[in-house]
Symmetry: C2
Subunit: 765 residues, 2 copies
């Protein structure tokens, strides 16, 4: 826990410069526009501890796998997000001294992340070792309006002297990933070009051959005289050096215009030209004009996704921070991109796609953005179906069975821990579930008969082969599994995995039946393309579903996390001394595995997904049993528990669990914010509010709400899209008002009653 930012409804504010917080602040104050992102590294030279991070969505490197002991089936590479050429740099030299906050005395340091407007601001007064004092103010943003543009306004005012100040805006391609298995640089084939007033740097990633080109120009606003401009043009580093005769008390403001282009959106051959054109386009508008356009888009985003909490500023700031970061990470206009666990805020987890996307992020985007955004998240997996089939083949499956990877950039598996890569296969289930979730939420049934069914068939085929018949039990079992609770590995009959496997096959069969008549042509095409033998395969799936073993303990009335869970010593998390928490920092791995302690929702994840199948008593018994044994050492854990607690009317528990996620990074609960933010779990926080407190569900195409309000809040308001409608739901202590912000009436289910809300009506309930 390290809370050092000020509480504010719309801003994250850091006052006073503390070098020990710099890496955390670089994460927390990150900015991005869905296509690229940037940690809050200082523009000027900084010799203290820092983690440079410039990320371009979809540009990655295949880092050769590093393991202690190779296991058959491991992937050759781990695809990693790249630390790309750094475009933020503006070195400042003050009368012969480098401006470096690790060296200078700093006063009045303020860093602000304005979440409403997507702006990072910083100002401070610095005194050099020789006593020269300057006031620096800077602002930067990555434009939501022009996805290739980033802009920096950097102002220096000499306070106690007149003299030479040089500005060196640059682009530095000599960058490394901190996380590199063999300490190599991931970039090659540099081409650099610098002119008076502009510079471009072109580089290509090794192996994956992504081409990127970054260009910069600058302009000055100052009464002081520009004395000299020079060019720096090294292979991996380009820039300009502008020497100014600075006048005491007169501010010198530089605007750095940056264009970031890649071969994802441009022909490699045209990339350098296109960068020049982009620079021309970007410099044609002022910093302020760009910022206006950028702000406008943020206003639109907030209109649809904001949550307003009255009576709890910390909660307000926390939830907005989460929504803000999610929208910076993924904007949904490019189905080649996805959401890494750290987004654009760090290198950890390699920036790849996990099941986090389907289990946590999809619900957020379904409710806060247009259907296209959710659809693009689904299409990402659809387009990787062939690779998922290849991946399954590599592990010995056949006949078009698909196993989606645990971690991926392009559909190829990256992860290399056998108990995860080969065994944490429930991820396949989440991908199928997201299709159901999307169609159920948006009503876009067309998706099933175009893109959904091939994926569902591939996944069901996988389950059908992965389940084996146990002569002993006379049932189908699933052996060698790691469930969502990664604190148990290689178990048998993980209830969640068996359940979701069964559900996948049932849902696929349901879709096949449902569209058999209406969409028989579309289905025929899919069946033929994927060699689907309807009768034979459906018969097999039905047989498995009817005889699938789902472990439970009838005495306790609970589903069993896995066959032998009750063989473990049963201790409650509350009885663990605080000095050994978190367990993963205090216990050897085997001790964790042998213990009954649960990292994140496992049985409860299944109950959350399929809650309609269970009565409240069953949910309650399982919740009481498993939550008490859960240590929530995954950031993805508390939200599911919080939602279920809300459902069960355990409001104090729900709020307690909500608090664990809401400000996880902002208050740096686990002292790991320096590595980057928990982007995907931020969606879980949103779920805790909207699905938990708000009780939002979609059942048979009907939006349902069953709101409660935490005792600490006066009211809260959330916005959701639902099909053609846009709703604003405000929940107060004693009432709830729902505004149907659209031109059509809407039937919703409010606390189990169907009510109609007229177009543009605000209904009080």
């Amino acid at each position: 826990m390290n809370k050092y930012t000020k509480t504010d409804e719309w801003c994250i504010i850091e006052e006073g410069f503390k070098p020990q917080n710099q890496c955390s602040s670089e994460s927390i104050f990150s900015i991005g526009n869905g296509r690229m992102g940037q940690r809050a590294n200082f523009e000027e030279h900084y010799s203290g501890e820092t983690l440079l991070g410039t990320y371009i969505g979809g540009v990655y490197y295949n880092d050769k796998t590093r393991v202690g002991w190779w296991k058959n089936g491991y992937p050759e590479y781990f695809a990693k997000v790249l630390n790309a050429p750094n475009w933020t740099g503006i070195n400042i030299n003050i009368n012969g001294e480098v401006l470096d906050l690790a060296v200078c005395r700093t006063e009045n340091f303020v860093r602000i992340l304005n979440m409403k407007e997507g702006l990072l601001e910083r100002s401070f007064t610095a005194e050099t070792p020789n006593g020269k004092r300057v006031k620096v103010s800077c602002k930067r943003f990555i434009s939501m309006a022009d996805k290739e543009a980033a802009l920096i306004s950097y102002s220096v005012k000499p306070l106690n002297f007149s003299g030479e100040i040089t500005f060196t805006p640059y682009i530095d391609g000599d960058v490394f990933n901190k996380d590199a298995n063999y300490d190599e640089q991931f970039w090659e084939s540099y081409q650099s070009e610098a002119d008076n007033g502009s510079a471009t740097l072109y580089a290509v990633t090794k192996k994956t051959a992504f081409h990127v080109c970054l260009g910069m120009k600058y302009s000055f606003e100052t009464k002081s005289t520009i004395k000299k401009t020079e060019i720096i043009s090294k292979t991996k580093f380009v820039g300009n050096v502008i020497t100014i005769d600075a006048i005491e008390g007169e501010e010198i403001r530089m605007i750095k215009y940056v264009a970031v282009l890649s071969s994802l959106n441009h022909e490699p051959n045209n990339l350098q030209n296109d960068t020049q054109n982009a620079l021309a386009r970007i410099t044609a508008q002022t910093f302020e004009a760009h910022f206006e356009a950028h702000k406008k888009i943020w206003a639109e985003i907030w209109k649809h996704s904001d949550i307003v909490i009255n009576g709890d500023v910390e909660a307000q700031q926390g939830i907005r921070f989460n929504i803000f970061q999610l929208n910076q990470t993924y904007t949904g206009d490019d189905n080649r991109l996805n959401i890494g666990p750290k987004g654009f805020t760090g290198e950890k987890y390699g920036g790849g796609t996990y099941w986090d996307t389907e289990a946590y992020c999809v619900p957020f985007y379904l409710a806060t953005a247009s259907a296209e955004v959710g659809r693009n998240l689904l299409l990402y997996r659809y387009k990787q179906l062939d690779k998922a089939i290849e991946n399954a083949e590599k592990l010995g499956f056949s006949g078009g069975a698909a196993l989606y990877p645990m971690v991926t950039m392009d559909g190829t598996e990256s992860h290399n821990e056998w108990e995860i890569t080969f065994e944490e296969i429930h991820r396949n289930g989440a991908i199928a579930y997201a299709i159901h979730n999307y169609v159920n939420y948006t009503g876009d049934e067309e998706y099933i008969t175009t893109y959904g069914l091939p994926v569902l068939i591939g996944i069901s085929r996988f389950w059908a082969q992965r389940c084996t018949w146990s002569e002993e039990r006379e049932m189908y079992v699933m052996l060698g599994i790691t469930g969502p609770n990664e604190y148990e590995n290689n178990v048998n009959n993980n209830w969640y995995t068996n359940k979701i496997a069964k559900w996948c096959m049932e849902y696929t069969m349901f879709c096949v039946e449902k569209y058999a008549e209406d969409k028989s042509e579309a289905l025929k095409a899919i069946f033929s393309k994927y060699n689907f033998d309807r009768e034979k395969e459906v018969t097999q799936w039905r047989k498995i579903c009817e005889n699938m073993y789902l472990p439970e303990n009838k005495t306790k009335g609970i589903f069993l996390q896995q066959d032998n869970y009750l063989d473990k010593e049963q201790i409650l998390a509350a009885d663990l001394p605080s000095e050994i928490r978190p367990l993963n920092q205090h216990w050897s791995w085997d001790r964790i595995l042998r213990s009954c302690f649960i990292k994140q929702a496992d049985v409860l994840q299944g109950i959350f997904f399929f809650e309609e199948e269970y009565d409240l008593d069953t949910i309650c018994r399982n919740f009481d049993f498993y939550e008490a044994r859960t240590v929530h050492e995954s950031s993805l854990s508390p939200c599911v528990h919080s939602i279920l607690a809300s459902k069960l009317g355990k409001s104090e528990k729900a709020y307690e669990l909500y608090l664990r996620t809401a400000r996880l990074d902002l208050d740096d609960y686990n002292n790991e914010a320096h590595e980057g933010l928990h982007i995907t779990s931020m969606a879980g926080t949103w779920m805790s509010v909207v699905m938990g407190f708000g009780g939002l569900r979609v059942r048979n195409g009907v939006l349902c709400l069953e709101p409660v309000i935490p005792a600490a809040w006066q009211s809260y308001t959330f916005n959701v899209f639902f099909r053609d409608h846009n709703l604003k739901v405000q929940v107060s202590k004693n009432k709830c008002s729902i505004l149907n912000n659209s031109e059509k009436p809407l039937n919703i289910c409010f606390k189990n009653n169907i009510i109609q809300i007229q177009a543009n009506q605000n209904k009080e309930l």
Copy 2:
């Protein structure tokens, strides 16, 4: 499978030079004297594929652990046997051309490993690219008589020319391990010295600071004239260059005398001096005199350990090869040394000590060498007890609980796979079992009350903490286990582990009771030193032993390898198509784990250890069930099965399984001989003959024999020590004769009848 050597009773013979076999031959023709060993690398320069291997027992390097994903509790280092400075080198230059078998045309190449005398010989005729022909003959051995001496006789005869031939005997310290996690050189602080006629090289291992010094001298026997001698003295490379005016048809013979000393046996400060003294000592005798002394010791070794097989030369050669390699690897005079799975023949497995030593090698050395040798193998572990306690503490155990490492050089754990390091804990049991085995075989009960009990107490304490009470079963269970069958990981209640854990506690309690009166002072000292609370701890152990869960299936009448073994699809190994064997080269790791296929004896290992507790029917049911599911993909597997098959009267099966081990390396069944030989499993082959066919056991201090003979053999003879006796047992088709080669009569149990054999009597039975 790659059999290219000729069959011979006493020699391994390779005729004709095939570069593709060179690395395998380097392993197969390895020589050693227990203190050091050397792969059969060519003396002269060889530019083809080779694996240089010079090993000094007990000299290792702590290579920084390399893993993909760190788990709490992993060791910092993997201690690895070092490739030490190479002392074998003698470069030959023929009239300006390098003698290099990768370049020259080679005829009449013969390489012979004379196992009776411990001599490696090689001869060939080579023609250089310029047409110069030479005949080369060389011999080398590492002296069993002077453990610091190695000698090479290297002769060159020009066949079709007179001209300059240079000999460059050298010591090369610029050596690397092929298996280095971070590609670094493991040696530093070189000091080199070369004089006319001699050279020494001194080097220190990084981190572990072992000092070694190698010295060489040479002499010539020739009618040709030595024209010039020069010195090479580089930091890491020393040698002499001797130029000779060679006369056509006249052989030039060089003797290279080598001394290899290390800080294990010398003060580092004196090491260089001591090396000079050793060289003086070594050169004081001729090659032939050294060889005589060396041969004499081998004759003694063979006298006690030889197995003679009549009627099957391949079997004869195979078993002698195994006995020879074991005796080269470990001679038992230094309890700081142990037996790595590859001995001195390769780098694989890091050269560390595994449970192989206790389970397989101890029985071999007990029967074929003096009791001191077995005792030294046990003392190795006794001396590492403190580290085993530390190791257990690292994993969360306390109160003096000891967990011996999976792999070690000095008692510290080296291995870093969680499912092995933390879970394959049955190794602790084998270490306790070896104590029982040693005392039972030798009658040295004193060992228990001096060194055995502390180890037994530490191990029993570990088991007592590792077993947990299952409320569900109302029994003690052991969760998260990898048994000897490493094709199942992280299982619950591995029968073998539960059984041996129970046995360890029972045996410890038995020893405490047994010596409570006679040796009360010795026990008191141990109890006090190890804070042993006899009443409390014994009570706890008894409670666990009485309530230990040992899974079995009553219907099938078998013990269960682990709780869920019968949930697996039951397929027999015989039904696997041959093209997917071995499974570990064809199946992904998870598929292997999920399958019912067994890598090596697991339940059957336990039945082998504790066979007296089970009736023949029980043994037979378990054997039939498990052997049919065993793929024997560990070299340690067939022997235990072969022994049990012999016991069960399944003599064809026993012989079939024996054949899988007997010539494993010699015929390179698994195409892996190039990596080194399977030294520890060679002891298993010996066990298959003596304990399997011979039926040798020691029960209650009585040697028992129940010999059978494979149909393919006419007779076989083995030699065993037993307490004060030395027996020669010859088994023919219809009779068995036992020679009591000692001055005292001996009662033995022959096929369940007690018979007495008088001193020096040969009894026909």
